[in-house]
C-alpha cells in the first residue's frame, strides 16, 4: 500500500467533470447535511401549513369575508385566495434559511467553503450548489404545503401544476438574492436580525398576502410593489384560479423575479470566488 505516490488516484481525478457538474457535488453535500436534520425538516414542512391554515386561514378568513363581502376577493373562497401567497411565502422563507445559514457557516463559522475551494471546485460552483440544494429543500416544503392545502380542501388537484412551480420559482429567485447578500456579511448577528425584522415581517404583512393589496392604504402599498412575495402571489393567483391580471403585469412580475434571481446569482458567484481567494 502506498499513500500519495502511486498515480492511480491521479488518473481518476477528473477536472473537466468537476468543471461541468461540480455544483451538483456541492448540492449533494448540502442535501446530505440537511438529511441529518430530517425530523426538523419534516416537522417544519408539515407544522407550518397546518398552523397557518388553522389559525389565519379560518380565523382571518371570516373577518376578511365579513368586511369585504363575498365579492371582495373576486368571488373566490378565502383559502383559494390565500394558498398562492402562503406557498410563495413558505418557499421564500425556506430558500432564505437554506441560503443564509450555510453561507454564514461556510465563510464564518466552520469555514467549510475554504476547504471546498481547495479542491477542483470554484467559488461560483459553491454558490450554485448551495442554491441548488436550497431549491431542492424548497420543492419538498412547497409540495408538503400543497398536500396540506389539498387535505384542507382549499385547492383542486390541478393546482399542483401551477402553485408548486410558482412558489419554487419565487423561492429560487429570493434565495439567490439572499445568497448574494449573505456572501457579503462580515458577521452573523446583524444580517440575521435585519433580514428577519426589517425585510421578512413587512414583506409578509404588506404583500397582499391576507387581503388584496389594493385594500391597504396607498402609503404602504409601495412595499407590495417592490416585494417579490407580492409579485409571486399575483402570478400564483393568476395561474391557479384565473384571477384577472393584465398581461403587462404578468410580464412585469415575472421579469422582476427573474431579474432578482439572476442578478443575485451573478453577484453571489463573484463574491464567493472573491472572498475565497482573498
Amino acid at each position: 500500500m502506498s499513500i500519495g505516490t502511486q498515480p492511480t488516484g491521479r488518473l481518476h481525478v477528473d477536472v473537466r467533470r468537476v468543471g461541468r457538474i461540480g455544483a451538483l457535488y456541492v448540492a449533494e453535500y448540502r442535501l446530505r447535511n440537511m438529511w441529518k436534520w430530517k425530523r426538523a425538516v419534516i416537522t417544519d414542512g408539515l407544522g407550518n401549513p397546518v398552523l397557518y391554515l388553522a389559525s389565519i386561514g379560518l380565523g382571518v378568513g371570516s373577518l376578511v369575508n365579513a368586511s369585504l363581502g363575498p365579492q371582495g376577493l373576486g368571488g373566490v373562497p378565502y383559502l383559494l385566495f390565500l394558498a398562492p401567497a402562503l406557498m410563495a411565502a413558505a418557499a421564500m422563507q425556506g430558500a432564505m434559511t437554506e441560503a443564509m445559514f450555510p453561507t454564514l457557516a461556510g465563510f464564518l463559522w466552520d469555514k467549510g467553503f475554504f476547504a471546498m475551494r481547495s479542491t477542483a471546485l470554484t467559488g461560483g460552483q459553491i454558490a450554485d450548489g448551495v442554491l441548488i440544494a436550497a431549491v431542492c429543500r424548497v420543492t419538498f416544503t412547497t409540495a408538503v404545503y400543497w398536500l396540506v392545502l389539498r387535505a384542507f380542501g382549499a385547492v383542486e388537484w390541478a393546482s399542483a401544476l401551477t402553485l408548486i412551480p410558482v412558489a419554487v420559482f419565487a423561492g429560487a429567485c429570493w434565495g439567490a438574492l439572499m445568497l448574494a447578500i449573505t456572501a457579503h456579511a462580515k458577521n452573523d448577528d446583524a444580517i440575521i436580525s435585519i433580514a428577519m425584522r426589517l425585510v421578512i415581517m413587512p414583506m409578509f404583512l404588506f404583500s397582499g398576502t391576507f387581503y388584496p393589496l389594493s385594500t391597504l392604504p396607498i402609503s404602504v402599498q409601495w412595499i407590495g410593489w417592490i416585494s417579490p412575495l407580492w409579485h409571486a402571489t399575483e402570478l400564483g393567483r393568476w395561474l391557479s384560479y384565473g384571477m384577472p391580471l393584465p398581461s403587462w403585469q404578468v410580464a412585469v412580475s415575472f421579469c422582476y423575479l427573474v431579474l432578482m434571481g439572476s442578478v443575485g446569482l451573478l453577484v453571489a458567484r463573484r463574491r464567493f470566488e472573491q472572498r475565497l481567494t482573498a
Binding site: 500519495g4 481525478v13 446530505r32 476547504a115
Partner: protein
C-alpha cells in the same frame, strides 16, 4: 514542481510576502521555517491556488494558479493551518465528500477511504462525528483528507502546532512515511525540530522575506557553530558578565534571560568560563539547531519573534 519569482502578496498597504524566490523539485521535502506572522500561510495559500498573488511569477505543476486554479488544485493535497473538516459529518463522510470535489468516483473512493483511515490510524473512528475527535485525530483526518486525490504535492501548514508531544510524534511518523514514499512535501513550521526531522531543504522566512536557504545541516554549518553553551547568571548580571567573556568561543548572543556562546567544543568552552571564576546559575551544552540559525539571522528567537 513549484517555481516562484519575486512572489509578492500585499493586504492593502501591508506587504505580507515581499518578493520571495524559491523552487521545489519532485520528491523533495521543502520546509518554510519562520515565526508567527512571517508570511508562511500566505505563501502556502498562494501555492495552493486559494489566494491570488499581488505580483511576481508563480508556476505550480507547470501552470499559473491565477489561470488554471482548478487544474492545479486537483493535484494538490492541502492541509490548512486550521482544521476545517465538517464537524457535523462523520470521519468517513468527510473523506468521501471531499473526494467527490475532485471528480473521484465511488468505486475509487470506497477502498481509498479504508486505506486513508488506516494511514491516519482512525479506523475505529470511521463513523464517529468529527466533533467527538481529539485535536490530534482531527489533524490526522485533515491530512488524510488532503491525500484523497493522490496529490502530486502535499502542502502542510503547521501540521503539528497546538498538539501535545505524543500526538506530534504520531504525526511526524505518518509524515515521515509520506516522505519515504517519495511524495513532494511543502511544510511550514515554527518548530525547528520539525524542520530538522522532515525537511530536506528549507527556507527561513522572516517578515515576508527569505533570509536563508539550504539543508538543515548546511544552514547550521553556515550560520552557527557545532555546539553552543547556554549560561544563566540571573537577569541583572548577564550583560555585565557577557562583556568579560566576550573573547571565549566563536560568537556570542546575549538574550534577556541567558547568554549563548557558540563554539566547536562546548564542554571546553564552559570550562573556560568557569575557569574565570564565574559560576553560572544554570548551564547547558547542546548541539546547534535551526533556532540558533534564526537567532543569528534576525537577532530574535523563533518563539519571541
Amino acid at each position: 514542481m513549484i517555481t516562484a519569482r519575486t512572489l509578492t502578496k500585499a493586504y492593502g498597504e501591508f506587504i505580507a510576502v515581499d518578493g520571495i524566490d524559491f523552487s521545489v523539485a519532485p520528491g523533495e521535502s521543502f520546509g518554510v521555517l519562520g515565526p508567527n506572522g512571517a508570511g508562511k500561510s500566505t505563501t502556502m495559500r498562494m501555492i495552493g491556488a486559494t489566494l491570488l498573488r499581488t505580483s511576481g511569477e508563480l508556476s505550480i505543476l507547470g501552470k499559473d494558479p491565477s489561470i488554471d486554479g482548478p487544474a492545479i488544485r486537483a493535484h494538490l493535497g492541502v492541509v490548512p493551518q486550521q482544521d476545517n473538516n465538517d464537524t457535523e459529518l462523520t470521519v468517513a463522510e468527510n473523506l468521501y465528500i471531499y473526494g467527490k470535489y475532485f471528480g473521484l468516483p465511488r468505486s475509487y473512493l470506497t477502498p481509498k477511504i479504508d486505506e486513508l483511515l488506516a494511514f491516519a490510524q482512525l479506523e475505529d473512528k470511521r463513523d464517529a462525528k468529527v466533533d467527538s475527535l481529539s485535536g490530534g485525530m482531527k489533524r490526522r483526518l485533515t491530512i488524510a483528507r488532503g491525500l484523497v486525490n493522490d496529490p502530486s504535492i502535499v502542502m502542510l501548514d503547521e501540521p503539528t502546532t497546538g498538539l501535545d508531544p505524543q500526538a506530534r510524534h504520531i504525526l511526524w511518523d505518518r509524515l515521515f512515511r509520506l516522505k519515504e514514499d517519495g511524495a513532494t512535501l511543502v511544510i511550514t513550521t515554527h518548530y525547528m525540530d520539525e524542520a530538522e526531522q522532515l525537511c530536506d531543504r528549507l527556507v527561513v522566512m522572516d517578515r515576508g522575506r527569505i533570509v536563508a536557504e539550504g539543508s538543515p545541516a548546511s544552514l547550521i554549518r553556515q550560520y552557527a557553530s557545532r555546539e553552543v553553551v547556554e549560561v544563566r547568571f540571573g537577569s541583572g548580571r548577564n550583560g555585565e558578565i557577557a562583556a568579560s567573556i566576550s573573547d571565549i568561543g566563536d560568537r556570542m548572543e546575549v538574550l534577556p534571560d541567558r547568554i549563548l556562546v557558540y563554539a566547536d567544543q562546548g564542554e571546553a568552552t564552559l570550562q573556560a568560563i568557569v575557569a574565570r571564576g564565574l559560576m553560572p546559575l544554570t548551564s547547558l551544552v547542546r548541539r546547534c539547531s535551526l533556532e540558533d540559525v534564526f537567532l543569528r539571522l534576525t537577532g530574535r528567537t523563533l518563539e519571541d519573534a
